[in-house]
């Protein structure tokens, strides 16, 4: 007996729902809910975490990320221009920088700045200086590639039209190419901001005083302070989501926005 397309679609849905239900039931039976609740969701003892987790932890996370992103954007712009320069030495330097810092773990940069800078140069850097510059160093490598791709994604005909109208090269770049490239790179730049928000937690390898603690540090400390198992980490995790989910939604909205950029 032949099945119609609609029958097949129904059968497929039925099978998927069946598997889902089975998995849920098995998990519900196997899992030790009391232990889970006691270790991860023991919110009743965590009153004292507030408001510091927000006023100190979240605030510091945002502060380190913003500083890293702003300087990363400046550095990334410079590197992108160097990569597109007609002077070959600039291109080599920029390419080496980008490949190096995209290729090593960000945590090495934090360690190098946190411990290496004081050993090598005797610098005594604050937590904000270490976190901000480590994030900026890493972010600029990624942002440079994003910006270069954005500038090159603007069709050649756009610059030709601008030049044919009599615009000087710099004017065509400022008025025609950069505004269109900016629209192209906004979603990937937002994603970069999300990655940076999470990478700011790497400052833990350097250690920091209580007033400079960010979310992950406060979550880890909370494990020892409160009788709530790992619940402080869950709280810290939700605080990250407070930052990253809106950014993520923003990026998605921009991707779907009415295209105001030339299509090839």
């Amino acid at each position: 007996m032949a099945m119609t397309t609609r029958d097949r679609a129904r059968l497929s849905l039925g099978i998927q729902a069946g598997i889902f239900l089975a998995v849920v039931i098995v998990l519900a039976i196997l899992i030790d809910w009391t232990a889970i609740r006691g270790s991860f969701f023991a919110f009743e003892n965590l009153g004292p975490m507030f408001p510091e987790i927000i006023t100190v932890g979240l605030f510091n996370t945002v502060q380190y990320t913003v500083v890293g992103f702003v300087f990363g954007l400046l550095g990334g712009t410079l590197l992108a221009l160097m990569r597109m320069s007609s002077f070959p030495v600039y291109r080599w330097v920029a390419t080496a920088y980008i490949e190096f810092f995209r290729g090593i773990p960000a945590i090495l940069v934090f360690i190098a700045l946190g411990f290496g800078a004081s050993l090598a140069f005797g610098w005594n850097l604050s937590t904000l200086q270490i976190a901000g510059s480590a994030l900026a160093i890493v972010a600029s490598a990624y942002i440079a590639e994003t910006l270069r791709a954005g500038l090159q994604a603007v069709p050649k005909g756009q610059l030709e039209a601008a030049r044919a109208l009599g615009m000087p090269a710099w004017r065509a770049m400022v008025t025609i190419q950069i505004p269109q490239a900016f629209r192209i790179v906004l979603p990937p730049l937002t994603n970069e901001a999300i990655l940076l928000t999470k990478d700011s937690s790497l400052i833990f390898v350097v250690g920091m005083a209580g007033g400079a603690a960010e979310l992950t540090k406060m979550g880890r400390d909370g494990i020892n302070i409160y009788q709530a198992g790992l619940t402080p980490l869950v709280v810290a995790g939700f605080c990250y989501l407070l930052l990253t989910v809106p950014l993520s939604l923003l990026a998605r909205r921009m991707e779907h926005r009415n295209p105001r950029t030339a299509k090839k």
Binding site: E160, A162, L165, G166, P168, T175, I176, N258, R260
Partner: protein, 282 residues
């Protein structure tokens, strides 16, 4: 107006054509005290790598004249056009446009290009700007016109191509034919003395071709110097003063439109026109 008329009338090479009270509202420079410029090209060579695209071109366009460049794709027509406003740099030869020597090493390219309008096959409107802003951005940012001044002129040019009512739209909300007419208006806001058209109707839906050709004809009737790369033989025959047929980087035949298209002398021209005019054979 008087200047451009006297220039074009003194040009003996030019076939007569309805002279122009039509200049009003067509955006031709005549009304603004500037004049149409001529083009002279001698010994032009251009190679891309090992591929020699132009192999020694000599031709000229008189002020106020309309010349259509025809020929198969790959014959070098577009490259020739792009050499005139130096979007391509020739390897050898000279080009002069009005008082500018385009091939001189010290030429001020930006100043020269302001006097040469160009219309592209792919329109190349600026997608992040409205239709009106497309037409005002260069007069404002390059010529230093005030917003009001630039907008008045832009709306007049948009009106001349029949699109004033779409001035607040974005380019992607317009049909191809409308975009191309905006591109013509945008070029004319710079009050050029020469207009280059690079296959302006090749990327258009057939039903929108007519409006673009009509705008171009209006411009021709107003006395603009025009160099047009086109496959529209009907347009060439009706509007062009002269037709130049190119093949494999050389000018093979040129003359009055009716003669070249109606009664070609060279075998290669005959062959090309037969294939263009009767694609199914006869």
């Amino acid at each position: 107006m008087s200047q451009s008329q006297s220039q074009s009338q003194s040009d003996a090479a030019r076939t007569p054509r309805p002279e122009t009270t039509a200049a009003k509202g067509t955006g031709v420079p005549g009304g603004h005290g500037t004049s149409a410029a001529g083009v002279t090209i001698t010994g032009l060579h251009k190679s891309f790598g090992d591929n020699e695209v132009l192999k020694g071109i000599d031709m000229s366009v008189a002020p106020g004249e309309v010349v259509c460049l025809i020929g198969a794709s790959g014959s070098g027509k577009s490259t020739l056009l792009r050499c005139v406003n130096r979007l391509e740099t020739p390897n050898a030869g000279t080009i002069t446009v009005g008082e500018h020597e385009a091939t001189h090493p010290d030429v001020n390219l930006d100043a020269m290009r302001r006097q040469i309008g160009m219309v592209f096959q792919q329109f190349n409107l600026f997608p992040h700007l409205s239709v009106l802003e497309n037409c005002t951005i260069t007069p404002r940012r390059v010529l230093g016109q005030s917003k009001a001044e630039a907008e008045t002129e832009a709306l007049a040019q948009l009106d001349a191509v029949g699109l004033e009512h779409l001035s607040e739209r974005r380019p992607d909300q317009l049909s191809g034919g409308q975009q191309q007419r905006v591109a013509i208006a945008r070029a004319l806001t710079m009050k050029p003395q020469l207009m280059l058209f690079d296959e302006p109707t090749s990327a258009l839906d057939p039903e929108t071709v007519g409006d673009v050709l009509a705008s171009m004809r209006k411009l021709a009737q107003a006395g603009m110097t025009m160099l047009v790369v086109t496959h529209e033989m009907g347009f060439a025959r009706e509007v062009a003063d002269r037709v130049v047929f190119m093949d494999q980087g050389l000018v093979v035949e040129e003359g009055p439109a009716a003669a070249v298209i109606g009664d070609p002398q060279q075998p290669r021209t005959q062959d090309f026109l037969r294939r263009v005019l009767h694609p199914l054979g006869e």
